[in-house]
Amino acid sequence: MKFFRHIFALLLLCVAIPAQAGHEQAAGGERPDIKEFLLEHLQDSYEWHLLTWRGHPVAVSLPVIIVGRGGVELFSSSHLTEGEEYRGYRIAADGDHKGKIVRAHDGSRPFDISITRNVLALMINAALMMWLFFALRRWYRRREMQPPKGILGATEVVVKMIEEDVIVKCVGHDYRRFSPYLLTVFFFILINNLMGLIPIFPGGANTTGNIAVTFTLATCTFLMINLFGSRHYWREIFWPDVPLLLKAPAPIIPVIEFVGVFTKPFALMIRLFANIMGGHAIAISMVMLIFVVHTTMNIVGSSSMTALFVIMGIFMSFIEILVAFIQAYVFTMLSAVFIGLSRE
């Protein structure tokens, strides 16, 4: 029961913190710019906005790193707040590169490898993941035959489940070669998904809902599928077992198969990105609705609607926890299936 109370408190926090942020905006008198607020959260940024205190944003400025012809430039993003220009760079207020650092004179993008919010979140999540699994490894090194308790025990159960139910069944006989990769992918996605659901500092970044992150993961799976593909796999693509007319004069099926080589990881990329991004969007929208209603309805109606949206927000948070796991599972399972197919 205590456990559920903790979860409930956490979920309430999930709703309450963005609510507070929205309230600060609404307090300004004008209607909150929902789209702006939503995109601001879903996209990357050069600072980590923690909260707004008495109308002033409290944010951690992150380092900007730009690799140019003159070498590496490193400075704090606090120099660039509110459209200021610094060392010939500014954050674009509109245009194609809206919200990104551009050269002040012509608005083009430099090679920008700043430690943004998502990068920092990825680093924190990666550190968390490394800590978790090295702790588990240390446990096994010390007392192999004793099952661990607590978070390590929970991790062990999930590792076992993924290994036995997904990797062994989908990859087949030489699963041991691919199991480290697939387990890494699964837990990387899962930890990033779950951390994204926590609204306060180390969490809350929309990492797996960012196309660059899912693109990297999908590329790794693409490499795993194609670098270790068997002869049979390549034959199925370029000379499949279909009537000759479908492949001889005009290679219809081979072309389709060849496109399929790229669409499989592409689908993985889009699926994970869209699900997580959508989840974040819904969670924020639920909270934003409170303020939309607040500015348009009378106080009685708005308080009952507020209660409704809080309940719906909590409900969505539960669903997002489920989605966080399911998406990690689906990505891993499909990767395993594709690898298994290419190894036949």
């Binding site: 194609d96 943004t116 290994e163 041991r176």
Partner: protein, 169 residues
């Protein structure tokens, strides 16, 4: 559309971070963890099998001991029965022997008694004969003295001889 265009900087860092995570965990953590899990699984399976084996062996042992017990019990009753019989035999033999001995001794005693009796009878008879001879002598002497006739004496002697012959010895 900026949501759908991957940012180069994030792509770069994601590749670096993921490579580090994959390299470290894929090399040191996950193979170790999965092989540990596998070993533990095998160990558990083996232990279960072993326990089953031990159980089965114990059961067999129980059956065997039961068998031994039953055999022992059977042997015991057999031995008891035989001992009983032997005891009975011994007693019977002893009794028989005793009876035979008794009979023999009785017989011996009887024979001795008979012999003694005969000897006594003989003795008595010879005594009686001597006595009667003495009596006869005395009578004869007196009779003769009185002048008894000769023919009477001779008849008397003849009669005595005759009766001596009739009597079984």
């Amino acid at each position: 559309m900026s949501l759908l265009t991957p940012d180069i900087g994030l792509l770069f860092w994601m590749a670096v971070i993921f490579a580090i995570v994959l390299g470290a965990l894929g090399k040191w953590a996950f193979p170790f963890i999965t092989s540990s899990l596998r070993r533990r699984n095998e160990r558990i399976e083996e232990s279960l099998r072993h326990a089953e084996e031990v159980d089965r062996r114990l059961e067999a042992l129980a059956v065997e001991s039961e068998e031994v017990m039953r055999a022992a019990r059977r042997d015991q009753s057999q031995i008891l029965y035989e001992a009983n019989r032997a005891a009975e035999e011994i007693v019977r033999e002893a009794r028989e022997k005793a009876a035979a001995e008794g009979a023999r001794e009785l017989e011996d005693a009887r024979a001795q008694i008979r012999a003694e009796k005969e000897r006594v009878i003989k003795e008595i008879r010879s005594e009686v004969a001597a006595l009667s001879v003495t009596v006869a002598e005395k009578i004869l002497r007196s009779e003769l003295d009185k002048g008894m006739d000769r023919p009477f004496v001779e008849r008397m002697i003849a009669e005595a001889e005759a009766s001596e012959k009739e009597r079984p010895v």
